[in-house]
């Protein structure tokens, strides 16, 4: 499954970084602690978070995540969107709260490392 499949199936809005939409999704990771993401997210994972500040793009780039999904209708800050666009990191927005979104992603086969 690639990022654009996920966009369609989970009804996500693409806010930036559409250049990275064909990246393969290897699984998912959810956390609002950046260090935890750095340490535990696996290359190609989608990252579910509440944060919308520009640093999320740096984190995604450094551990090569396939996309960032903002929950509860959070909008990326302008600078975040700009950076994501430049670097081709998709920023997707779900209107669902984190728990609900992760549940649905998991049901679609997007799993976390155990």
């Amino acid at each position: 499954m690639n990022v654009s499949d996920l966009v369609q199936r989970a009804e996500l809005a693409v806010k930036a970084g559409a250049g990275g939409l064909d990246a393969e999704v290897t699984g998912g990771y959810a956390s609002d602690l950046l260090s935890a993401v750095m340490a535990n997210a696996v290359e190609g994972n989608v990252w579910v978070t509440w944060h919308a500040h520009p640093n999320i793009v740096a984190v995604a780039l450094l551990v090569k995540l396939s996309a960032i999904i903002l929950v509860a209708g959070r909008q990326p800050e302008d600078e975040t969107a700009e950076k994501a666009e430049q670097e081709g990191v998709p920023i997707l927005v779900s209107s669902l709260p984190a728990f609900e979104l992760v549940g649905r992603l998991h049901a679609m086969g997007v799993a976390g490392a155990t």
Partner: protein
């Protein structure tokens, strides 16, 4: 190649604008140009259509098809205004190619007039062929540039004749600037990627550099992040000028953090940074003096590169 080219193209249709691929010099006609004169305009310029301009504004478009219809209808005296298509589908110069592609698709035309956003003035015409040409040019340039960069970078050590060569990469880190935070680590990762660093090693370096950089941003007035690349190993060093860590042992404890509440709300300062660094490094040392500063050194051995 098979995987990278389509994805790069996909990126490009979002990155490149209509203005970058369009034809800027356009032959236009006026509404009161007669259909007879239009034939000469099309013939001498070898074009099959032209935008119709009145007082610097696009008022319509006239095509070969309109011309033929006029002929078929008996070619009575008429002006361009009588036979042109009004309500022209247009596109702005600053729109991405992807929007152009979908608009061409929707309207079924082969070309669209291009307008400047602020004043709706006609600045060019764009065709499907222009898209392909523009993409090809960009792909070729981009591909060659990256190839050359990679080649040069990965041969740095081959070309230098010495008993030992060391490459130093240094990045300044501004304290308390959460906007720029992580840019040092990001740039370092790119640079080392070009040098041909293996992906697993690159990931460990990225984590070390990011956490070290974040510590400088969160807790200090600023400092430097640097990477020393030698045969056999890469050493990451992070220096700052204070305030220093009173109890290094305690600072190393996972979950221990002195970060301010607002910093934690941004997701930083979870007290995992040093622990993460330690987990990724083959060797790590942390020296700190309160009131003076902190130096963190982390080393990663490069498999198969030792001489």
């Amino acid at each position: 190649m098979d995987n990278t080219v389509p994805s790069r193209t996909q990126e490009l249709i979002y990155e490149m604008t209509v203005g970058e691929v369009m034809t800027g010099q356009v032959v236009t006609v006026e509404p009161d140009t007669s259909m007879n004169d239009l034939r000469e305009v099309m013939r001498s310029n070898r074009i099959s259509g032209a935008p119709v301009i009145c007082d610097d504004r696009l008022v319509g478009i006239i095509s070969l098809e309109d011309f033929i219809n006029w002929l078929a209808a008996g070619s009575r005296d008429a002006t361009v205004a009588d036979r042109m298509t009004q309500n022209v589908t247009t596109i702005y110069e600053d729109e991405p190619l992807v929007r152009l592609v979908s608009r061409l698709d929707q309207c079924g035309y082969g070309r669209l007039p291009v307008l400047q956003r602020d004043d709706d003035r006609l600045v060019g015409v764009v065709t499907k062929g222009d898209i392909i040409d523009g993409l090809m040019r960009k792909l070729e340039i981009g591909y060659q540039e990256e190839e050359i960069r990679r080649f040069r970078a990965s041969h740095v050590f081959d070309d230098i004749i010495a008993d030992q060569t060391t490459l130093m990469l240094r990045y300044d880190v501004v304290g308390n600037d959460f906007r720029q935070a992580g840019s040092g680590a990001t740039r370092l990762k790119k640079a080392l990627g070009r040098l041909g660093t293996a992906p697993q090693v690159l990931r460990r370096i990225a984590i070390i550099a990011y956490e070290a950089e974040m510590n400088i941003v969160i807790y200090t007035e600023g400092g430097q992040l640097q990477a020393k690349v030698e045969a056999g190993r890469i050493t990451i060093e992070a220096n700052d000028h204070g305030p220093g860590i009173a109890d290094v042992q305690q600072a190393m404890t996972p979950g221990y953090s002195t970060a301010a509440e607002w910093v934690r709300e941004l997701g930083f300062g979870a007290g995992m940074g040093l622990h993460n660094i330690k987990g990724c490094a083959d060797e790590m040392s942390l020296d700190s003096a309160v009131g003076e500063g902190t130096r963190l050194t982390a080393t990663i051995a490069l498999p198969g590169k030792a001489e």
